[in-house]
Symmetry: C2
Subunit: 331 residues, 2 copies
């Protein structure tokens, strides 16, 4: 151990922005910069721009010699191969495997003449990075068995068992947004090409879809009718539910029931101490969390009842993905 | 390490018989004895009888000094507490917590004067013991991520991730027989008090139930009609399917579809290298395994398709539960 290495780099590579952060051991982001993920034609050009954004931050904390390692959270990133594997939403990676960890390491290693091995960089997907962040700095501190569920454009998950991220034999474990909640033809069509996935009901997109269905199929009054049907977003449902709108609250009841019943099945798998929810939908607080927990305790097998905790991420306002990715940098 | 300790004791505590085996490092059961599990009023009397059965075996291999430790596989056994926790089907344990590991250790420790610590005994449930057995001596040798599914009176499971049994925060992880396959009121009533559990469709009992439903609701000819409806067992379905009986094969198609679709969801959780099936139903071989695998590859998310292997236990004819439990004894 070199005592000088008191920082790690965390990179949150999202569909829109890529954020580089220098993080200390207590989980403070001491320096930060970002670039547009999609402004580049090739992965090489992206890495070039990333280095330009990152190097001033590195200098700011005393140079590369002060940094233990780097972690990158990115869509379709595989922990085992340290590469982005055909990420549909990233133009320079949608049709190829991009060994991003090696590409950055090749650039950073020559800068650190004291280090004998290549500069260490690990990658994982964004939901796994969020789980790492919760374990290192957030709601899961001290826990060894928990599941982070991210409710965003899609539904992602990071599963920790026995203190370790669950990667599976191929690095692709933990796609809980794609367990089937409605079997057969009635299930909603999912982006993965199948029908009935949890994600189609409980992502932000899924909640908006539920809202449009309810408004279209009934003539019940609702604050949600103030907007054109096609423009309703999950945030509108949150706001309306917060104002006591009955239809909006029923949409959250429905969403919570789906999530609670899904979690009941997840418990039969790994019996976690807690489920930690992350993402815009959680800002609705008890309006969404209570329906989830109630549905869970009703649906779960009696031996598990009342045991699991339902928590909201403690990193919602911090840059959780950067923190989570940086946790990989300490390895 | 004491090189003299070349054996482990494996105990398979079942609803009817309890088998004690002395196992060598290669997985050979070199000595074996059994008692009737339910012939005793109290756990103390059971342990007393167990010691009487076990001690001659221990002497046979050169005494307690030759034995590394003991593992016990038992229904409702908790790895964390080393106790049977209210096992509904065992008279002396149905309404209490029985710390069986400590009870046996208290009897065995004084016999080994060379050993400074108490004689080590670990417990786990029967499906987890089966998974340990497959990993140590069976179809999962060399694997780090796999799921054993036991198809017996119920459906049990032992989940291995990253080379470790998945116990969860309370020791009760891996109850995959109780994920919900049919939601709502149409689901079959399960022994756990809920409806629609995988176990109600795919256990031996579930298969017999499917057979009775099909025979009752149609007048299609079938070899299965040679027996009174109430006496049909899953073995009859296997035999009829083997003879080309169309109804019997459709029952296996239905059972395989349920199992395959369930496994597709399990893969979204832990992405195992293989599913290993154990129990009487597997004796039907391809007649049941092919429908499972076909349904799985149709149902699973595209990124996983074609990756997982579907295997039958390699310990079906050996005493898998004794071997599996003994694997705990090496710890």
């Amino acid at each position: 151990m070199n005592e000088l290495k008191t920082y790690a780099i965390g990179v949150d590579l999202g569909g829109t922005n890529t954020v580089f952060g220098i993080v200390d051991a207590a989980g403070n982001i001491v320096a930060q910069n970002s670039i547009k993920t999609q402004a580049y034609d090739t992965a090489e050009a992206f890495v070039e721009a990333g280095m330009t954004a990152l190097l001033p931050l590195v200098d700011q904390v005393g140079g590369i010699g002060r940094i233990q390692g780097m972690g990158i959270g990115a869509p379709n990133a595989n922990y085992f191969t340290n590469a982005i594997e055909t990420a549909p939403n990233i133009a320079w990676a949608h049709d190829r495997i991009v060994p991003l960890a090696r590409m950055f390491s090749d650039r950073l290693s020559p800068l650190d003449v004291q280090r004998s091995a290549p500069f260490p960089i690990h990658m994982t997907n964004d939901a796994n990075a969020a789980a790492m962040g919760e374990m290192a700095y957030g709601a899961a501190r001290g826990m060894k068995d928990f599941i982070v569920i991210t409710l965003g454009t899609g539904v992602g998950s990071g599963i920790v068992v026995n203190g370790q991220l669950l990667y599976g034999h191929d690095g692709f474990a933990g796609e809980l947004g794609h367990v089937i909640m409605v079997r057969g033809k009635e299930g909603r069509l999912c982006g993965c090409g199948r029908t009935g996935c949890l994600e189609t009901y409980c992502s932000a997109t899924g909640v908006a879809r539920t809202a449009r269905e309810v408004l279209q199929n009934t003539d019940r009054p609702s604050l949600l009718r103030q907007k054109p049907l096609g423009q309703i977003e999950s945030l509108d449902v949150s706001i309306a539910a917060g104002k006591g709108d009955e239809v909006a609250n029923e949409i959250f009841q429905f969403t919570g029931k789906m999530l609670g019943e899904a979690c009941a099945d997840f418990t039969a798998f790994s019996s976690p101490e807690a489920f930690i929810f992350f993402g815009g939908l959680c800002k609705a607080g008890d309006l969404i969390m209570r329906p989830i927990e109630e549905a869970y305790n009703k649906a779960v097998m009696p031996i598990y009842r009342g045991k699991a905790r339902f928590l909201i991420s403690e990193l919602m306002n911090a840059n959780a993905a950067v923190l989570g990715a940086s946790a990989l940098g300490w390895k």
